[in-house]
Symmetry: C5
């Protein structure tokens, strides 16, 4: 994509920024993971996303557009990885049944698969939208009102609860961008391809990077509480 971007092509710049950010985040979470197992899914998600953005940035530079269906190979893998992180964060402070892991994994996989099938036209866009919405609402129900929410409320670990609350706030607000975009693009009057791509890039930035940093911070706190010393003098 080197020579094609115009200086004022802010969408192309955001693709390039995301590529760099995801590559850096992949290195960060995989390295930090050496001390916190819960960071592995985040590191893997960032790596998958970095590879995907290399592709997306190339498609944008070559054609000036990135059809949203291209993003689903990334989302199909990264959304479940982010969803199961709720399970791992809970598991750090209280005893969590493994069934919660599978419910979050399946609901998020159904969510993205339905979105893909609808936006690629293999099922009716409305059907895809409704099934994906159901998956998303199920996850929100689980983390606010369901077992995940109850476990968090009863864990008694103040810092982990604060982090869990921040994570589900991002999941509520940040993840809402995707169904809004889907609705406008496939069910509403269509969208400007510059605007939709910029919005999805920034949504990915928020939902992956900010979400990941919160998890990392609770992990770092937890590690410190175990008696590790300052960040300069090592693990």
């Amino acid at each position: 994509m080197s020579e094609m971007l115009q200086p004022n092509d802010i969408v192309g710049m955001s693709f390039w920024l995301m590529t760099l950010a995801m590559a850096g985040a992949a290195a960060f979470f995989l390295v930090e993971r050496l001390w916190q197992a819960a960071l592995t899914p985040l590191g893997v998600a960032m790596l998958v996303s970095a590879l995907s953005y290399v592709n997306l940035a190339g498609v944008w530079a070559g054609t000036g557009d990135v059809p949203t269906v291209y993003r689903f190979a990334d989302w199909q893998l990264t959304v479940p990885l982010l969803a199961v992180t709720f399970y791992l964060v809970l598991g750090a402070v209280t005893k969590v049944p493994v069934a919660l892991f599978w419910r979050l994994l399946v609901a998020s996989a159904v969510l993205t698969a339905a979105g893909y099938l609808g936006s690629a036209g293999f099922v009716s866009p409305t059907l895809g939208f409704l099934v994906a919405l159901a998956g998303g609402l199920y996850i929100l129900g689980e983390i606010y009102l369901g077992e995940a929410g109850r476990l968090n409320a009863s864990s008694g670990n103040q810092k982990a609860q604060t982090a869990f609350n921040a994570m589900r706030l991002i999941a509520t607000i940040g993840w809402a961008i995707y169904p809004l975009g889907y609705f406008m693009e496939y069910l509403g009057g269509g969208v400007d391809n510059e605007a939709i791509n910029l919005i999805y890039n920034l949504a990915d930035f928020l939902n992956k990077l900010a979400f990941g940093l919160i998890v990392w911070q609770v992990a770092a706190n937890d590690r410190e509480a175990d008696g590790h010393r300052s960040p300069l003098s090592g693990a």
Copy 2:
């Protein structure tokens, strides 16, 4: 392959999905391996598969077809790696003779070599099919009725037995897709190249990723039983 896929090219999307999934899985199992030696063959298998899918995705985008023979370089290496994982999982809970390792390795190598020679036309497709089938049935016999099966039954480790049972269920059902595809493509009336590639991609996804996650889970359980703490506070 960036600019060539159509939004509704679900096969191309599945090739791209597999490339991302295998790259992420390679990172996952190689990183997790730091604590469980049994995950190394899985990490290596995912890495080999990721490199292979980069190639397959490029061939598909360039030509709209991927002859099945192209997949054998991957399978020749990854099927034996998956087969010997039965040996490693057993070895985690009971004493296993090293001869079982070699029987699984040789049978799976013969299986894929025969399949390749038959599908590339170096031997008669029927001969290749029969030899490969024999190799596959031998492995199934080994893990159900043979020494591997008996060792599992007598190990007394409930969780490892459950995992072993899940692994051989995948090996029975998931691996059956390959001989069925071979039969239809080379001995039956031929197949639609879109359908066969989509099926093989999903079979690889199931047989590699789901199989790998089961092994990882038994390893994680085993680690926890050794007294390691929560996933957030490290290894």
Copy 3:
């Protein structure tokens, strides 16, 4: 870029030098990080910068110019990573409130975002300049006169104080190159594209590599003080 550089193209050579230097530095800080957590952001910053310079070097070789806006995807990520290093170095020797981390992160992110928006023409260049300048002055105020400066003065750790002073000297002098370049390029009479790129490359070299080596040295001292032996006999 292999065959295009002329023997006396010192700017092209400096792009190539930066690519090699950042790749080497990424490996260095990520490997050294195994013993000092504070080096992770530096390793990630060098990795991001190495990937960015691969792109910049290619644009230069292909077109003989690199518009400054291209550098902002790098700076948007690396400047905040360098800024929070002040927090980490302080955190190694004294107790530091996490709010300082966020103030440094936000100020540096605003700084680079304003610079980008101004230089790409999305806001008036003068407005972008002034907001970025305010962000930069806020950081300097923080590390000289604000809480960061006071914490450093009161830490009582001689070596860390010396390092902190060297770090803020680089941040004062080295980081001043960027607003000067911006002023000349977008608010003054314009600049020679060879000169400005050579200057930015050398500024990056100084501000990233020299800054990083100082942090690494204080970390190495700190580690040694913990009783680790000679560099030849291991960690």
Copy 4:
């Protein structure tokens, strides 16, 4: 090489297989090395070989031929690495003079250098052949009758002796393929380029991978004897 191979191009397939195998083996031995220092030279050899095969596979796909001289950059580095592995395996079970390391290193470097100079026509093919043959016979003499052989015989470690015997059997039979190929290609009546490349690929597969797996197995045994637990529960 993606789109050029014909389904029945078994030589091209073997190049692609070797590329995948060597990449996977490099990851395997470098990861396993974390516990056994003797595996480092094997990991490095596999990595060098993987990079070399990427090149060879490209040359084959592009031109339908790979002149044997292309393989010498690989062999010049990997043969000495494999030769010194004899020294490392002995060093694991008994005290070995460092001079043996240097004799094996020099003899194997002379072997491959002479082969290269002869096959590229810088010296007479006959002279190159004879010098290389002398180097190879010296190594065989060393590991059967010389100090290396005597040290092995007297080590008293049953398993290491079995491995050493297997390693020298591979070195005797597997390495004999190279001088035979050289003799036929440069001193005999010439060879079919398909046949010779297929043979060299399979020889590399045997001599690198099978050789490496034997060394890994003795290392794994040795580790277990030190009291490490099952492969599932970690290092």
Copy 5:
């Protein structure tokens, strides 16, 4: 470069050999570094050099020449890294003032910068030669007669002294190739581009790889003296 090399293009082969050797050496020293901190600069130097040789090999294959100025981006980074290794080896056996680190770093950076400016024509070739020569002679003086030499002589560690002597012998003889080549190319009657590139490749091979292996050996001895067991049974 895949398809362009002739079988008897020994210079092209040496570029390819160096690319493989440096990639392998980078992996080797970075992996070994896990146990010996002094190997990090060597690992970084090999990585930088490997990336540089990928570029040089491509330039050679594309144009049949590699102007010597291309090598300076590599040398500017790797020569200082090799020079400070003297400091690290001394630091392993005796107490060394950090000022020695900086003297070696600055002298070697001046050496290569002067060489670059002279050979690219930014200053007179004679001036560049004389300044570079002064830098080189200063380093030799330091390691033979200066503080570095005296510290070595008084360290009382036999093995480290032997290694230090071997290292400075390489620095005396091997590094002399560069000023000789510079003199012939820019101050004498010019040189054959095949000869000069072959000589520089072999000089790099000797000065980086042989030098690195000596350092690694002293580090391995030192580790063993600390009570680590055989190379087969781990770190």
